[in-house]
Point group: C2
Chain length 389, copies 2
């Protein structure tokens, strides 16, 4: 019980006007920088110019890889790795949300591999070395800014897998809540759903015993999201809300909340199939799946935990029976995600039908069963997908 | 608001049977190890033998420095530094509580300095380099296992100061709750008071604005201590209680709880004078001082925070006025420290009279004022000391 190894080496600069430290941090690793970003929103908000100013001031040589997709592709990773090899890149600077950072992490390892980067993601080849990574976060959601995981998609095979390696841990991350002011209400809500799901999956809802202190902290990060996500949705430039969500996103997945427990991210595994096949926003898929997953696995053994969640987070009446309390908790979570945050509540609404449920369910289970609070067979997963229609 | 830099690189092995990793971790830094420890309790509990077995298995050459004092002396630091220089030590292994670890941290820096180690503590000479440190914790209290601070005493001058430098951060710490089973009820209680004080001082009680999430997490760690310290006092071999206290001790001072705020440890500064002059147990001094400090600074501006503390931690009636609620909170804390944990409640009981209050108060303020929730003049500090008689 409670055995674990914990380490998180990322240096965080949190708050406004911290970019003046960008140059000095990058310079430690060399002079040739590959700047990576997505569709260009960082230009709209003026962040691109600010970053370039700092890089120029420090006298760094900058190369660029733009156009990193949400659900980043292995083909983009290959493109980035080619630039690193050709231009002798010393350090990577990812400016964006989880997709940009994840793609950059994979590039950092692929830069030292001579084949297709998909080999690294599928563990056909090991990660042996990686370029150092610095990040500037623009979306509070994935926690990628302070962990060692990257999720990469292969659209040829409809696969989306996580690559986890200590070498992928960012050296430094800049977290300025003001850089998330322009995030849309929809993406803010999806980000909140993602943060919550990290805590649910790893492992607020669990069959194993947790350390009491860690369990309490999990609930406080959940409460933080439940309090501030609706504020950020309504008042995008509320610094306090953006700051709390940003630090919550990092802490939901930086390793502390998983100390002493067993990680088995059922909802994440199921959602990866949805976004691998339909390229939807990860947080939205998680929001739609989570209440149905809870409903599906609700029984006498899971009810006490779901009820406790309802009581502690949403003020569900403690005098209810476990089963009634759990049902009420699931309703409260659904209301929060679909009413308060305004996310779509069904797969049908986002254009997904049941055609691929069987193949997705099988893949989610990787031919076996999907471990988690309750082990799920492919048939179970298919049933859960069906509940989301 | 909320600007901060956060980094904590220490690798934690938590739980039982993790010592099998000790050799591999030390070996990364070299082959010549200086093992440091205190009065020999580690021999009584069999930990010394276990450690030596692992070191021998790995083929490391071991030197020893034993007899490190509670409130470790600069003279002991000098002794350790001499061994490091003479024996070309590669890495330090501290086995003990905060005193042993703090002393070892100071040794790690003094090993590269040719004068008296007190020069480093008093900033007459800068820390330029330090030997790597691995720790095995045997007392949940100071958080030294996961921070970069060392508190060293000079009995010639009755001074006790903190030396803080990133190079002093332990590389690896082994936290096995079972290694604290033999800690006495008194020392367990003192450790709990120390953990609480870290949170109060840095900076649960503050005049500045805190990030909501961090404030909640502070209360979680406080609740953890309030729940488990009395259990550990009564049932010294309760693993769950020891585990929660151990992880709480690390997190109370590992930097996370100070993110976004201002550190000004009033009670710690006042206590350092008590233990510098009277060599008392640090946690006991903190326990005696804290409720008096709260009482002394209680006014309309501090009352809301003290009341909130009482309501959230001890279930004080929320409908009370701020002032009544705050008074009740101070009573609850006193009851917890002096009745539930059984600590002595006055300086008189531990043989301290008012003879040196004036000089200690002046030193605590370093000739100026002591910053904190409320700034304190030497006269204020003297008054607080007097309330502790």
């Amino acid at each position: 019980m409670y055995n674990f190894v914990f380490q998180n080496t990322t240096k965080i600069y949190f708050g406004e006007n911290q970019l003046e430290h960008l140059g000095e941090e990058l310079k430690q690793y060399g002079t040739r920088v590959l700047l990576t970003y997505g569709g260009g929103s960082i230009k709209k908000i003026g962040l691109y110019d600010k970053v370039m100013d700092e890089l120029k001031k420090t006298g760094l040589t900058v190369f660029e890889l733009s156009g990193i997709e949400p659900n980043p592709r292995h083909t983009t990773v290959n493109k980035g790795a080619d630039i690193c090899k050709k231009e002798n890149i010393d350090v990577l600077l990812a400016v964006g949300g989880g997709s940009t950072i994840d793609c950059t992490k994979a590039i950092s390892a692929a830069a030292f591999y001579d084949g297709d980067s998909w080999d690294l993601v599928t563990h056909k080849a090991p990660v042996t070395k990686a370029l150092p990574i610095v990040t500037i976060l623009t979306l509070s959601a994935t926690g990628s800014e302070m962990d060692s995981a990257a999720v990469i998609s292969n659209l040829d095979t409809n696969e989306k897998y996580g690559l986890i390696h200590p070498l992928l841990q960012p050296k430094v991350s800049f977290l300025d809540p003001a850089n998330t002011y322009s995030v849309s209400a929809f993406q803010t809500a999806c980000g909140a759903a993602d943060i919550l799901s990290h805590i649910f999956d790893c492992f607020y809802f669990t069959a194993s015993k947790k350390m009491d202190m860690v369990d309490r902290v999990m609930e406080d990060v959940i409460k933080t999201v439940v309090k501030y996500a609706p504020i950020a949705v309504k008042e995008p430039e509320n610094y306090e809300a953006r700051a709390n969500l940003m630090w919550a996103s990092s802490w939901a997945l930086n390793g502390f909340l998983t100390t002493g427990g067993f990680q088995a991210p059922s909802c994440h595994a199921m959602e990866h199939e949805l976004s691998a096949f339909y390229d939807i926003t990860h947080g939205l898929g998680l929001a739609i799946l989570t209440p149905r997953w809870m409903e599906y696995i609700l029984d006498e053994s899971s009810a006490p935990q779901f009820k406790k969640f309802g009581v502690n987070i949403f003020g569900v009446d403690e005098s209810l029976s476990d089963m009634e309390g759990a049902e009420r908790a699931i309703e409260c979570l659904s209301d929060f995600l679909f009413k308060t945050l305004g996310l779509q509540s069904t797969l049908t609404e986002i254009g997904i039908d049941d055609k691929k449920f069987k193949v997705m369910a099988k893949k989610a289970c990787r031919g076996d069963v999907l471990q988690g609070f309750k082990a799920l067979t492919p048939e179970d997963v298919e049933n859960i997908f069906r509940m989301c229609l």
